[in-house]
């Protein structure tokens, strides 16, 4: 049998083809209307483009995306503008108030920080006390350092003055002997020291 069934079954196929299938009953007006509403007319194309531009799904998507962007920008700005409530970088490196308070309390024989935290009023008083102590310590330290610096300069000056005084006045030397203090500041040296004191430090 060949691959062409028309040759093998020619007569049968011709017999069958002699029968004409029933012709369709079509409504051509419907087809024409469908085409005028469809894609073939320019007006329909323009309408379709307009509908496409104003498609609700697309506009909803754009609105959602723009909303997300605006919201993110607003949150970013708000976070940037928000005052920082937490401890700053500087204070974070320092010992906390609680630790200072507990140390002070231990020194003073007071309850520990965990006990202090339970009482806010006591906590505040302890804080103030510790701050006062710290400030006074700092001030005192600064004063001592400054005094030591000035006094070192003044001592140098007084030593030289004393040598001069010893050389010029044997009486003063004899007067100094009973006290056995080689470093006696003379009024002149004291004046020089005060002048040094008044000079601005760098």
């Amino acid at each position: 049998m060949s691959m062409d069934p028309h040759q093998d079954f020619k007569s049968e196929i011709e017999q069958l083809r002699s029968l004409k299938p029933r012709t369709p009953k079509l409504d051509w007006e419907l087809i024409r209307n469908a085409s005028s509403k469809g894609l073939n007319s320019d007006l329909a194309k323009a309408e379709r483009n307009v509908v496409y531009v104003h498609q609700p799904r697309r506009s909803a998507w754009l609105a959602w995306a723009s909303g997300v962007l605006v919201g993110a920008a607003a949150m970013f700005v708000a976070v940037k503008m928000m005052p920082v409530n937490g401890p700053s970088q500087r204070t974070r490196s320092l010992p906390s108030v609680e630790s200072l308070a507990s140390q002070a309390a231990e020194t003073l024989g007071k309850p520990k920080s965990s006990e202090i935290v339970s009482s806010r009023g006591f906590m505040r008083r302890a804080d103030l006390r510790v701050v006062d102590q710290m400030l006074s310590l700092r001030d005192g330290l600064e004063v001592r350092i400054l005094t030591a610096t000035k006094l070192a300069q003044a001592q140098e000056t007084s030593t030289s003055n004393a040598e001069e005084a010893n050389a010029s006045s044997p009486f003063d030397q004899s007067m100094n002997q009973p006290f056995a203090s080689p470093r006696v500041i003379t009024p002149k040296a004291w004046g020089a020291a005060l002048n040094e004191w008044d000079k601005p430090t760098t």
């Binding site: 049998m1 691959m3 069934p5 093998d8 079954f9 049968e12 196929i13 017999q15 069958l16 083809r17 002699s18 029968l19 004409k20 299938p21 029933r22 012709t23 369709p24 009953k25 079509l26 409504d27 051509w28 419907l30 087809i31 024409r32 469908a34 085409s35 005028s36 509403k37 469809g38 894609l39 073939n40």
Partner: protein, 164 residues
């Protein structure tokens, strides 16, 4: 729809409308509606498909099957498809074969054979196109077509008193 476009569609329907109607008839009870819907889809297109005949067969099949699915919800399958063997072909006293008997023979074929025979004999589709339409191979379509025509030969030659 431009005049040229409408003329092409009308010309196509004059040439293949009957075959498409016969093809749709095996799937649904209202093949005219299926063909009408397919032509509406065709009219909505910007241009005609490359292979209009294959495209129309595919669309008519889909429309007819959709119609059957919808009808099945309302009534029994027998009433929907029914394959009523009257009205398949035009009454022609000069025809060599009895239209009703041919319709009965078509109804006795399996659905795939029926699809292949109608699309090949009246639709004039190639076996490659039929294979694409029926989701089979061209060789399978050819084999089933040959088998169906052999059955036809036996049946009608026996009926006419001739030897097969």
């Amino acid at each position: 729809m431009s005049w040229n476009y409408e003329r092409e569609i009308r010309s196509f329907v004059e040439q293949y409308g009957s075959a498409l109607l016969l093809y749709a008839r095996q799937y649904c009870s209202n093949p005219d509606d299926a063909l009408q819907e397919a032509l509406i889809d065709l009219a909505r297109r910007d241009t005609l498909p490359d292979n209009l005949l294959s495209w129309m067969y595919r669309v008519v099949k889909n429309k007819a099957m959709n119609q059957t699915r919808a009808d099945k919800r309302r009534s029994s399958h027998q009433a929907v498809v029914g394959l009523a063997n009257d009205g398949w072909f035009e009454e022609d006293p000069a025809a060599l074969l009895d239209a009703k008997e041919v319709a009965e023979w078509i109804c006795d074929l399996s659905p795939l054979e029926r699809e292949i025979v109608t699309s090949r004999i009246w639709g004039d589709l190639t076996f490659e196109q039929i294979a694409e339409l029926t989701d089979t191979s061209a060789s399978t379509a050819f084999r089933l077509f040959t088998k169906s025509v052999e059955q036809f030969r036996k049946r009608f030659h026996l009926h006419l008193g001739d030897k097969p």
